[in-house]
């Protein structure tokens, strides 16, 4: 399936290559560079490129291109999903997925790639298994290794590999047994000029951090499970239990993982926690315009909205902006034309606003569309959909674990058209 993999950085250097079948020359990447040039923007490089003898399927993550070489028909999503899994594994192992980290750990990277694919077909992709085969680098371990001469590579087959629960390793031991769940919900919305909602829905995930000894069998139930309109599961979840009882029952992997992601349907009304008053205007035949936005809380369920950032991609003819914020600070990058206003918290007594003048390129026609505002915010201790975890039970082990649930609501792709 996957023939070779090339890692390419932003400036177009191929800094790592790995072949699972016979060697494919680096020159195959020229087709990719060609496409990249044509696309102008990195975001627009087509993920699938056809060349005379090969097909290139690439992903762009963390400022790196992962370009895989394919020779025969294969579902493209298969490759894309796998490449993302590779990037995530690097992230997991080295704390970041960057060129420097990969170059520093090139041997581990190679060992990982060797384990993850055999002849181009995925072999072991579960983080728990990989970590048993190849231990992640830590300072302590490298010191110990250099003294004792022991290695980073496991010499027995990970227990998970053979069982029906490949995601969990055996013999996990903790002194403090803890299970934490983060319910994170993001509001995706498009708000039109007049402030009415064109489209809104809630996308949520439950990320878990499980540090429990042995083989715990957990079941997590919700107060209102029918809120969840569409759910995708980590393979550990027993689907039938969910179907019949709406209970999440699973033997968890060890460590951090995403338990479920879900969508709360757009048919239910989505509460929009903030509103934006805006007036942006460019005068005809003049080199300046006015810019004025104010943010206020709307349906915030009595919680404070914090971490507000407003990002605006201004039209190309904007040269500079002279603004005064009543709160927070703003920056305008004259090259990318991106205005960023870091607002912080909303205090209802005094609503934050940002107003001032926009300098336009003289002579150029005025932009016909006002830019849309992308808003980020965060509300702690609130799941905007109202989802509530009812209880967490553990079976199969004797000890009493420490349990915790945290709720956060964030803005996802939250866009206000002006």
């Amino acid at each position: 399936m996957i023939h070779s993999l090339f890692l390419i950085n932003c400036s177009g250097d191929i800094f790592l290559e790995k072949h699972w079948k016979s060697v494919v020359s680096q020159s195959v990447c020229d087709y990719f560079f060609e496409a990249q040039e044509k696309a102008a923007d990195v975001e627009n490089v087509p993920p699938v490129i056809s060349t005379p003898h090969h097909y290139l399927i690439s992903i762009y993550q963390d400022k790196l291109f992962f370009v895989s070489v394919i020779q025969t028909e294969v579902p493209p999503l298969f490759v894309i999903e796998f490449l993302h899994r590779v990037a995530d594994t690097f992230q997991d192992y080295f704390g970041e997925c960057s060129e420097a980290a990969i170059k520093d750990n090139v041997v581990i990277v190679y060992e990982l790639l060797e384990e993850m694919l055999d002849n181009g077909f995925p072999l072991a992709t579960e983080s728990n298994i990989l970590k048993e085969l190849i231990k992640p680098p830590t300072i302590l371990r490298s010191v110990v290794n250099s003294i004792t001469g022991s290695s980073n590579v496991g010499d027995t087959l990970p227990t998970g590999q053979l069982s029906n629960i490949p995601w969990r390793r055996a013999g996990v031991k903790y002194t403090n047994n803890e299970a934490y769940f983060d319910v994170v919900e993001e509001i995706d919305a498009i708000i039109d000029k007049s402030g009415s909602t064109v489209f809104a829905e809630i996308q949520g995930v439950i990320d878990a951090c499980i540090k429990l000894s042995g083989m715990p069998d957990l079941s997590l139930s919700f107060m209102n499970p029918r809120l969840l309109d569409d759910v995708s599961f980590h393979p550990c979840i027993r689907f039938k239990r969910w179907e019949s009882e709406r209970v999440l029952s699973f033997i968890p992997p060890d460590g951090n993982f995403r338990l479920i992601s879900y969508r709360v349907s757009s048919q239910n009304l989505v509460a929009i926690p903030v509103y934006v008053k805006h007036s942006i205007s460019f005068k005809e035949n003049s080199s300046c315009g006015r810019f004025d936005i104010t943010i206020g809380p709307k349906q915030n369920m009595g919680k404070t909205i914090e971490g507000i950032t407003v990002t605006v991609h201004m039209p190309k003819v904007v040269l500079n902006m002279n603004l005064t914020p009543t709160q927070g600070s703003y920056t305008f990058d004259p090259v990318t034309k991106v205005l960023t206003w870091d607002v912080g918290k909303i205090t209802p007594q005094k609503l934050p606003s940002l107003k001032g003048l926009v300098n336009l390129q003289s002579g150029a026609p005025k932009p016909e569309e006002n830019p849309s505002l992308n808003i980020q915010f965060k509300i702690q201790q609130l799941a905007i959909s109202g989802l509530k975890v009812n209880r967490l039970d553990m079976y199969g082990e004797k000890y009493k674990p420490f349990k915790g649930v945290k709720y956060v609501t964030k803005a996802g792709k939250f866009q206000v058209r002006t």
Binding site: S22, V107, I165, S232, P235, E245
Partner: protein
């Protein structure tokens, strides 16, 4: 050969220096000496030294540096001899790195690579399975043709290994060997055949991959393993799932007949118009044999469904394409939700998924219509995503939503991303041609865009307007005049050319302007683009023919300019036109027809989707994405006319089985058989899915046929069959000894078996527990046996009988999803209802179940805490389609413990259900803590009546009689349909089927939102978009029979309103009318 001998000497040289180095305890000087000969090899010499050293740490360092070189793409092949020696290193990390090196360079240094083979051969016998596996991996990755026989032998041995991990690696090795030496195909197929029989989930994915690569046409190898693969699928690792699903899709297309009704097109709808329903029913029955799905086909569709919930986008897409290609069209709808979910993922996944949705949305609009807004474009999306979304929005556009869409498009047109703005204009053009109602609106909108400041936008608008005008040869003189004016300002060649063509084509409609335009163009002819020049020539020619008085000289002038143009196309065209239109003595017969040639009616261009022609590729494939047939693409065959013998999939192990297999499913015409065909076979597959654990379940049932609580638990068990099976395996792997496992299980099974009737001997029971497929065939046998016993009795009787016929699960006889289609003499009322439901759904393809508009939070008391001794129960209708069966209404019950002690074993006791009514009970709750609360769901098939379902809610100590009476509005499921369909359906449900009433109320109660809210509060109906403000329409179908229920509220003058309900189920209709009337009239 010489190079090899050189390598050998070099290697031995290296060895000597190493020895020297060790003697001198210095590693620097010898490498220095080598440096004299070749300075750039110096570093590598240094590496060689390290590799020869005694210390593992030095070797490891060297290997790490070498791997670093390989990673960067630098050549490290000359180190081969030094590296290969370390292949037998004790240090596992060194060994692994040496493997990496070997695999990379063995192809280049074949002879030297042979030195390492013996090490691998030894390692293949290692007691550690990881070492065996990795030895096989490396051995098979060394692409050296000489060792093909050794590889073949190793693969054969490994395929019989005890460790499934090694067998998995053997499956991978098959592909490697095949690509190295295709001659081995026959031998490899044997190995594949053997590994396909493997029951380990670990192996399944890899061996199917090998199958796809080596012998995708040997579909016969799959037959016997088909059911096993379907059943194992959920437990296979995600990558394997993708491969298996794709393979099974191809398999299904060759083995089953099409589930798509041929006449779900227009033809059928027309029939409905002219014939009464009854006639039609007879007709359809006469005309075609009722289609019943092969149970294996159903098995595949059902077992893949849970995978739509996978976190892996590739798996979701694979299931989606499976549903698209092989499921009945009515069932494919469930994939849209999951696909829309994937749109939240990263841009690459979005790109592929959107492409596939684009193809799907062309053929079946309805699937994605409810998710229209999910395809709205954000300004931050990359352009490629934007254009794909636009494409889908265009496909989804219809009369009902076009106004919303056009408003949305207006925002897009102004986008700063001009490429996207241009694409939007094309989209508007396509909408205008597809939906005739809005053509004029669109045209006006596009004309407004002509005054846009951005040239690309204007140019694109011109091109689209040209196409639109060409399609509508109505008088659009004004627009043409407006465009003629634009010629002064616009510079984009395509747009200029389009305007000129348009003027030329309509030159008789704008007689004054056309010659003037030609005059201007003649002036600027030399500086125009080639494209424009050609159109100037055309314009000249057309004017010459229609208005030669004014334009003769101008045209001559232009023709002269064209004659000396640099471009030969233009010179050609000039010559051609001159000969054709200018009369001279040499002109032939053709010039008489010049006018006909130039001013012929031209066919309007078709504005269609670029995704139109992609549907011949299987969805989700590389070929589909690229729209080119990729190498190795396997065509999806068309459905066979007649299904190949389905008995090939039976796994015949026990002799008893043979008795029935030949008469089995193949013969549908057998009347007794026919009776049970659908639901029955349904059950068989459900049996097989639950496999091992099933046996236990049904026995429990028998033991306590009175105590239905246990019965219900066994039902539950069979529901979660796959899982408990998985659990068994989990346990087993902990025991790790395969044999031990099957032994103990056998024992268990035998014990259980011996308790039950002696219908099957101990032999067969042990076989059952040892293999899934066998157990399946056995249970099939069992159910078949009972069918014979029961003969031709009606369904109710069957239900009674089942209690006696111990081997069957009660569950078996509840038709879970598909209704029974069969002409039998004595039909019970519910069966007739089934029939009606089925026919209706075939006749109206427009109906699709939608999501509830509104879910009232109202709960009803099932058991008060006072009477329940502390146990309180409330129930509530979530208005979701029931997961337990199509005909059931889902009910959620919230149990509260208000006492101060634990309540244990809460379950459903004896059920007293009216005839035909069925109930799917919840899993018993072991214990409920004080103050605890738990929500469970149940399914009840009320048979479309408001009869109460009475049953006992039991705890460990007590039993309480409780009843559920459904409000009439909860017996419905909302349906989405367009206004047009609504009217059509309504037209068919008049007379007897219509009930109506007049309501009087204050006008403020008749605002649209009030009416909507009131109606959906009472009944679970879907809103039908309405063109008129004063008419509100709602559609639903009854849960059990699927009969349509159409509600119309027409607001009249004054404070009256007409409420009309059209439905076949007149009783329900009138009850609903009675319920709605007071609600709507009160304030």
């Amino acid at each position: 050969m010489s190079s090899n001998s050189f390598a050998y000497t070099e290697q031995s040289g290296g060895g000597e220096t190493a020895e020297l180095g060790q003697e001198a305890t210095s590693t620097i000087s010898p490498s220095g000496a080598f440096g004299l000969f070749s300075s750039d090899l110096k570093k590598n010499e240094d590496l060689k030294q390290m590799l020869e050293s005694n210390k593992d740490s030095a070797k490891l360092d060297a290997m790490k540096r070498i791997v670093g070189m390989i990673a960067k793409g630098k050549n490290a092949s000359e180190l081969f001899p030094a590296v290969v020696k370390n292949v037998a290193s004790k240090n596992i990390e060194i060994k692994k790195l040496v493997y990496v090196y070997l695999v990379r360079y063995a192809e280049e240094q074949q002879d030297l690579a042979l030195l390492s083979i013996s090490t691998f051969q030894r390692a293949l016998k290692d007691p550690n399975q990881l070492i065996r596996a990795s030895a096989l991996r490396v051995l098979s990755s060394i692409r050296v043709p000489i060792i093909v026989p050794i590889m073949m032998l190793a693969i054969k041995e490994a395929s019989a290994d005890l460790s499934p991990y090694v067998r998995k690696n053997a499956a991978h090795a098959i592909q490697k060997l095949y690509s190295l030496d295709p001659e081995q195909k026959e031998m490899l197929i044997e190995v594949i055949e053997k590994l396909l029989k493997d029951k380990s989930t670990l192996v399944a994915g890899s061996v199917v991959m090998a199958f796809e690569e080596v012998c995708p046409d040997r579909i016969d190898l799959i037959h016997k393993n088909y059911r096993k693969l379907c059943n194992l699928l959920v437990d296979v690792e995600e990558w394997g799932q993708v491969v298996i699903i794709h393979m099974l899709t191809r398999y299904a297309r060759t083995q089953f007949v099409s589930p798509w009704k041929e006449d779900d097109g227009l033809e059928d709808n027309e029939k409905n118009f002219y014939e009464s329903d009854d006639e039609l029913k007879e007709k359809t029955e006469d005309r075609k044999k009722p289609y019943s799905m092969d149970p294996d086909h159903r098995l595949l569709i059902r077992n893949t469904k849970p995978l739509l919930q996978s976190r892996n986008a590739a798996v979701v897409m694979a299931v989606a394409q499976l549903y698209w290609h092989i499921s009945p069209k009515s069932e494919a709808g469930i994939i849209s939700k999951s696909l829309v979910r994937l749109l939240r993922s990263n841009r690459e996944v979005q790109y592929i998924v959107l492409q596939n949705i684009a193809t799907m949305s062309i053929q079946r609009k309805g699937m994605f219509e409810p998710y229209l807004k999910s395809f709205y474009v954000r300004s931050t999306d990359p352009t490629m995503i934007k254009t794909l979304k636009l494409e889908i929005l265009t496909n989804l556009a219809n009369e009902a939503n076009i106004s919303t869409l056009l408003r949305e498009f207006q925002t897009y047109v102004k986008s700063q991303d001009k490429q996207f703005a241009a694409a939007t204009i094309q989209t508007i053009g396509r909408c205008a041609t597809n939906i005739s109602e809005v053509t004029d609106t669109c045209l006006n909108g596009l004309v407004c865009l002509l005054s846009n400041r951005d040239e690309i936008v204007v140019a694109e608008s011109v091109v689209v307007i040209k196409k639109l005008l060409q399609m509508q040869p109505v008088q659009h003189g004004e627009i043409i005049k407006h465009m003629a004016k634009l010629l002064d300002s616009i510079t984009v060649p395509v747009a200029r050319a389009s305007i000129l063509w348009l003027i030329g084509e309509n030159c008789e409609r704008v007689p004054k302007i056309a010659p003037d335009v030609l005059r201007k163009m003649a002036k600027s002819f030399t500086s125009e683009d080639d494209l424009v020049k050609l159109q100037i020539l055309n314009l000249g020619a057309k004017l010459y023919l229609t208005n030669s008085k004014q334009t003769k000289l101008l045209t001559q002038y232009i023709l002269n300019l064209g004659k000396y143009d640099q471009n030969y196309d233009i010179r050609d065209r000039t010559r051609f036109i001159r000969q054709l239109i200018v009369p001279n003595e040499k002109s032939g017969a053709l010039s008489k027809y010049a006018k006909k040639i130039f001013l012929a009616q031209k066919p309007a261009p078709l504005l269609e989707s670029p995704f139109k022609d992609r549907d011949h590729f299987q969805l989700g494939t590389l070929s589909h994405t690229l729209n080119i047939k990729a190498s190795g693409y396997l065509e999806l065959s068309n459905w066979p006319e007649v299904a190949p013998d389905p008995s090939v999939r039976n796994v015949e192990v026990i002799e008893l089985a043979k008795e029935w297999t030949p008469t089995g499913k193949a013969k549908k015409e057998n009347p007794a058989k026919k009776f049970y065909s659908e639901s029955e076979e349904e059950e068989e597959s459900s049996d097989s899915s639950s496999s091992d654990s099933e046996g236990g379940g049904s026995e429990e049932e028998e033991d306590s046929s009175e105590d239905s609580s246990e019965g219900s638990s066994s039902e539950e068990e069979s529901e979660s069959g796959d899982e408990s099976e998985a659990e068994n395996k989990r346990m087993a792997t902990r025991n790790s000894k395969n044999k031990g496992k099957s032994d103990t299980e056998d024992g268990k099974k035998k014990n259980e078996k011996s308790k039950t009737s002696g219908s099957s001997d101990a032999d067969s029971s042990s076989i059952e527990s040892s293999s899934d497929s066998e157990s399946e065939s056995e249970s099939e046998y069992e159910s078949r046996k009972t069918t014979k016993e029961i003969g031709k009795q009606t369904k109710q009787d069957r239900n009674l009988l089942t209690k006696d016929v111990s081997l069957l699960d009660l569950d078996d006889f509840n038709p879970i999803s598909t209704p029974v289609v069969l002409p039998t003499p004595a039909l019970s009322p519910s069966l007739i209802a089934d029939l009606e439901g089925l026919n209706l759904s075939t006749s109206s393809s427009v109906i699709s179940v939608g999501t509830p508009v509104f879910v009232p939070g109202k709960t009803h008391v099932l058991l008060h805490r006072m009477s329940g001794k502390g146990l309180a129960a409330n129930y509530f209708f979530p208005r979701q389609p029931c997961i337990f069966g199509d005909k059931m209404v889902s009910v959620q019950i919230t149990l509260n413990n208000t006492s101060d002690r634990k309540i244990e074993n809460i379950h459903i006791g004896e059920k007293k259900l009216p005839v035909g009514m069925q109930m799917h009970v919840f899993h018993p709750i072991d214990s409920l803590e004080p103050e605890g609360s738990i929500t469970v769901s149940m399914g009840i098939d009320f048979c479309d009546s408001t009869q109460t379902a009475s049953f006992q809610l039991c705890t460990k100590d007590d039993c309480f009689n409780v009843t559920i009476q459904p409000p009439i509005g909860e017996l419905l499921l909302p349906v989405t349909m367009s206004e047009k369909d609504f009217k059509k359906e309504q037209g068919m449900l008049t007379g007897m089927n219509e009930t109506s009433a007049v309501i009087i109320a204050a006008p403020q109660n008749f605002t649209p939102s009030m009416v909507l809210q009131k109606v959906v509060n009472v009944a679970n109906v879907g809103v039908v978009p309405s063109g008129q403000d004063n008419i509100h329409r709602f559609a639903a179908k009854t849960v059990h029979s699927g009969s349509l229920m159409l509600v119309t509220v027409e607001l009249k003058e004054g404070s009256t309103a007409q409420l009309i309900i059209n439905t076949e189920k007149t009783v329900i209709g009138s009850v609903l009318l009675r319920e709605l009337k007071p609600v709507l009239s009160q304030g």
